[in-house]
């Protein structure tokens, strides 16, 4: 378990609350070594991220489709997508070692800095998507589209932006993960 301290110059870091039992449990879960081999290489990590994006897209499409066709049956695709989405999310959290799930007080300085970088990148990307969506709707309104015409695109865009806001940091964090340091030879040495 790590304890975070600020790296900035100045009067020093604010003291952080001690880790709770939940923090310790979550830290242990996020650092479970059993899943390491599934995302040990960059290629494997990319495949997992792409699969997560695909299942997310299926789930979102099911929700929008159910809204457009006013048919709840399309929502049946949602639990199917979730069956793949949930373990994939677990892999993403495992490969990032809980970077976005753990509370700051159990992250170390590198992880805190990485989390800030990931959120900054995601924020920038979502800002551009929001701007593009707003411009698109403005242009559509200028072209004579009514609010009723735009109901479905509005719902779809809203859902997409919400999903991006929630998931883009996780995808970015997963894609930025570097390979684990090679095995620690010291652990193999007998104690002296």
């Amino acid at each position: 378990m790590t304890t975070s301290t600020s790296t900035s110059a100045g009067p020093g870091p604010e003291p952080l609350a001690p880790a709770t039992r939940y923090d310790r449990w979550l830290f242990k879960t996020m650092n479970d070594a059993r899943t390491k081999r599934y995302h040990a290489t960059r290629a494997a990590r990319r495949r997992i991220v792409l699969a997560h994006m695909a299942t997310t897209a299926v789930g979102l499409a099911a929700m929008v489709g159910a809204f457009v066709r006013a048919s709840p049956w399309l929502l049946a695709a949602l639990p199917v997508a979730l069956l793949a989405w949930v373990p994939l999310t677990g892999f993403l959290n495992s490969m990032t070692r809980g970077l976005l799930e753990l509370r700051v007080r159990v992250l170390d300085e590198r992880q805190v800095a990485e989390r800030g970088e990931v959120h900054a990148r995601a924020h920038r990307a979502v800002s551009w998507v929001l701007t593009a969506a707003l411009l698109g709707f403005y242009v559509a309104w200028l072209a004579g589209a009514s609010v009723a015409d735009l109901a479905v695109p509005l719902a779809a865009a809203g859902l997409l932006v919400w999903a991006l806001h929630r998931l883009l940091p996780l995808w970015i964090a997963a894609l930025r993960v570097r390979d684990e340091p090679e095995d620690d030879e010291v652990e193999a040495l007998p104690a002296t």
Binding site: T2, E109, E180
Partner: protein, 93 residues
């Protein structure tokens, strides 16, 4: 601003037979962070560098430097022998 900080952490850690996990727990860092420092992929804060140095009871400059370190054998036995071509401008006293 990504000035590369050279370090001898891997050498000292192996010499003292301290695992990454043990060092990480002692200095309040994640074991991956120790690995990234050793590989030169992360520059520790002054705070963390000092804690690592204190853990090994070494001056921080024995572990971290802005200039490449000379091989330890050169520093212990002097320079000029075979296999000491990797000398640098860093001097020892």
């Amino acid at each position: 601003m990504s000035e590369h900080v050279h370090n001898r952490l891997a050498v000292v850690r192996a010499e003292r037979k301290v695992s990454r996990q043990a060092l990480a727990e002692a200095v309040g860092a994640h074991y991956q962070t120790i690995g990234y420092i050793e590989r030169g992929q992360y520059n520790p804060s002054l705070d963390l560098a000092l804690r690592i140095a204190a853990y090994f009871r070494l001056p921080v400059e024995a572990l971290f430097s802005l200039e490449p370190f000379r091989p330890l054998t050169d520093e212990v036995y002097g320079t000029g022998g075979a296999g000491t071509a990797r000398t640098t401008g860093r001097t020892t006293t």
